[in-house]
């Protein structure tokens, strides 16, 4: 059975890109644009891995991670952001991986494979 990913990303075009590329790589991808929508999905469905942006309007990725950790500690999380500097924020250490966004999705795909196969 296909592994299920939840992608949280506020840039619409990027979200489309991730959805298409990760589906092509063999995953079942649910894509949402903000943290609240992500929480609704997590409450209603089960996921094998969550990929989230950090800087998002309303609620940011760090807040999302905190909420997820309070509810489900077992789902691996990958932070996928345009910023290097959040690495120094210890709250991001709760995630399983920190990836700086790149036009090549190879690093992201490799990390997903490493974490859930």
């Amino acid at each position: 059975m296909k592994k299920k990913l939840l992608v949280v990303e506020d840039e619409k075009n990027l979200l489309v890109l991730y959805k298409e590329e990760l589906s092509k790589a063999g995953y079942k991808v649910t894509a949402v644009m903000d943290a609240d929508a992500a929480m609704e999905q997590i409450k209603a469905h089960s996921f094998d891995l969550i990929i989230t942006d950090i800087r998002m309007p309303k609620k940011d990725g760090i807040e999302l991670i905190t909420q997820i950790m309070a509810m489900r500690k077992d789902i691996p999380i990958i932070i996928n952001t345009a910023y290097q500097s959040y690495k120094h924020d210890f709250m991001t250490w709760a995630a399983d991986a920190y990836i700086v966004k790149s036009a090549s999705l190879e690093e992201l795909k490799a990390k997903i494979k490493e974490l859930i196969g």
Binding site: D10, E11, N13, L17, Q84, K101
Partner: protein
């Protein structure tokens, strides 16, 4: 009853001693917005200004690493010239610009052979054992030379250059730092240097040393602020560029797949095109922000400027079906500022108001006179207002209430207003709206008008 005096514009009575006038000139030079060297020159002018107090000539050496280097040698070539310099200095109402202009012309003129003679001089500062003139700075002592011709500690070339037997070396000292040296003499009048002259020179040296020290610290702080701001900006720009680049790269990769369908190909190209436009916009905003450099102000008619601004936002207003209510007080005076940047600044504020109201709400623009010489452009919107948490930071770069905002708009407006000598005021209530007031200094009224 109280008496009040302006410490910077004090006019001395004829009875005030020359010493006090000398110290006043030096103390006031610290407040002048001229360059460090210009202000040091004013101090040296004060030191060399004529009868009673001054020395005939003064040299300035500045310490650079372990070397003491010649900078200026100020002084008249004759007793008559000395007299004329003091007359310039003691003319009632003479301002610093005039003194500085006078000094500059002295130094730039053909006649300035003195400075040329010491400009290439450089002495190594050894701990305690340097030759004169470096001795004073390396020992942090005032050195009075009475008989230069027979004094073995005076360096030969310096002896030939100064060409007088008696001179005084004053180290410029500040906390833990030796900054330079001033050397004064009375070569023209041949007057003997007395204890009182040494005391005066000593105080001047301490003041000048601390002035240089403060100026250096100030420059360091400005540099540090610049570096910090650049770091912050670099980080922000990286992000602003990375997202569109990642999108462009990703969709371009898909295009390389030979199996891609015609519809998807078209969609990818459209996305790539729109992301490239976004990059362009980002760069444009940044360039505009970095370019604020207002040197010359000119007069601007507020009504005309507002017309241009409204013209440029017309397409947005029309597409959102908004109306903007504009009223300009009759006979409003023109203001002094840079026409392009000011127009852009006002447009930024109006754009923000449009963003704030979306397609429901109202925008009012009012231009009116305030107090005697201020003209105000007020832009009011009925949008959601600015959150209390960021109100204090709203004019800082990279702070935005908008999801996709660069946070440069208001920082830009603030820079333009500062550069014009104006100010910006903000009143915002969450849930009710915001008023931005751009206050411009109007052109000074002519007498009798």
């Amino acid at each position: 009853m109280i008496e009040r005096y302006n410490p910077l514009l004090h006019e001395f009575s004829g009875e005030t001693s020359k010493e006090i006038q000398l110290f006043s000139i030096i103390a006031q030079s610290f407040f002048q917005p001229f360059s460090l060297l210009d202000n040091l020159l004013v101090i040296m002018t004060a030191l060399t200004a004529g009868h009673g107090v001054g020395f005939n000539r003064a040299m300035l050496f500045l310490a650079k690493a372990d070397k003491l280097k010649g900078e200026f040698w100020l002084g008249p070539a004759s007793a008559e010239e000395a007299e004329s310099i003091w007359r310039v200095l003691s003319t009632p109402g003479i301002g610093y610009p005039e003194i500085i202009e006078h000094n500059r012309s002295l130094l730039n003129g053909e006649a300035d052979t003195l400075t040329k003679r010491i400009k290439k001089m450089s002495y190594t500062l050894y701990k305690g054992e340097s030759l004169i003139p470096a001795l004073a700075l390396s020992t942090n002592e005032i050195v009075l030379v009475r008989d230069a011709r027979n004094e073995p500690l005076v360096e030969n070339r310096f002896r030939e250059t100064i060409d007088t037997d008696e001179f005084l070396c004053i180290p410029l000292l500040a906390e833990k730092e030796a900054l330079g040296e001033i050397i004064v003499d009375n070569a023209i009048t041949g007057k003997v240097i007395r204890d009182r002259d040494v005391e005066l020179a000593l105080i001047c040296g301490l003041m000048a040393g601390n002035y240089i020290y403060t100026a250096k610290l100030q420059k360091r702080v400005v540099d540090m602020k610049k570096v910090a701001a650049m770091g912050e900006m670099a980080m922000f720009v990286t992000h602003q560029l990375r997202n569109p680049l990642v999108t462009i790269g990703g969709f371009a990769d898909q295009l390389l797949d030979p199996k891609i369908g015609a519809r998807k190909r078209k969609r990818n190209l459209q996305i790539i095109r729109s992301e490239i436009r976004r990059l362009e916009r980002t760069l444009m905003q940044l360039t505009q922000f970095l370019r604020v450099d207002i040197r010359e102000k000119s007069t601007i008619d507020i009504q005309e400027m507002l017309n241009l601004v409204l013209e440029s936002v017309r397409p947005r207003i029309d597409s959102l079906k908004l109306t903007i209510d504009v009223e300009v007080e009759a006979g409003l005076r023109v203001v002094l500022c840079d026409p392009i940047h000011t127009g852009e600044a006002v447009r930024n504020v109006v754009d923000n108001a449009i963003d704030a109201v979306g397609n429901e709400g109202k925008i009012y623009i009012r231009a009116f006179r305030e107090k005697a010489d201020w003209a105000v452009i007020a832009v009011q919107d009925t949008g959601p207002g600015i959150p209390e948490s960021i109100k204090d930071k709203i004019f800082e770069s990279f702070v935005s209430t908008k999801d996709k905002g660069m946070g440069l708009g208001l920082a830009y407006v603030k820079r333009v207003m500062d550069a014009c000598g104006g100010r910006i005021e903000i009143k915002s209530t969450e849930g009710q709206g915001t008023i931005f007031k751009l206050c411009f200094k109007t052109q000074p009224r002519e007498r009798g008008s």
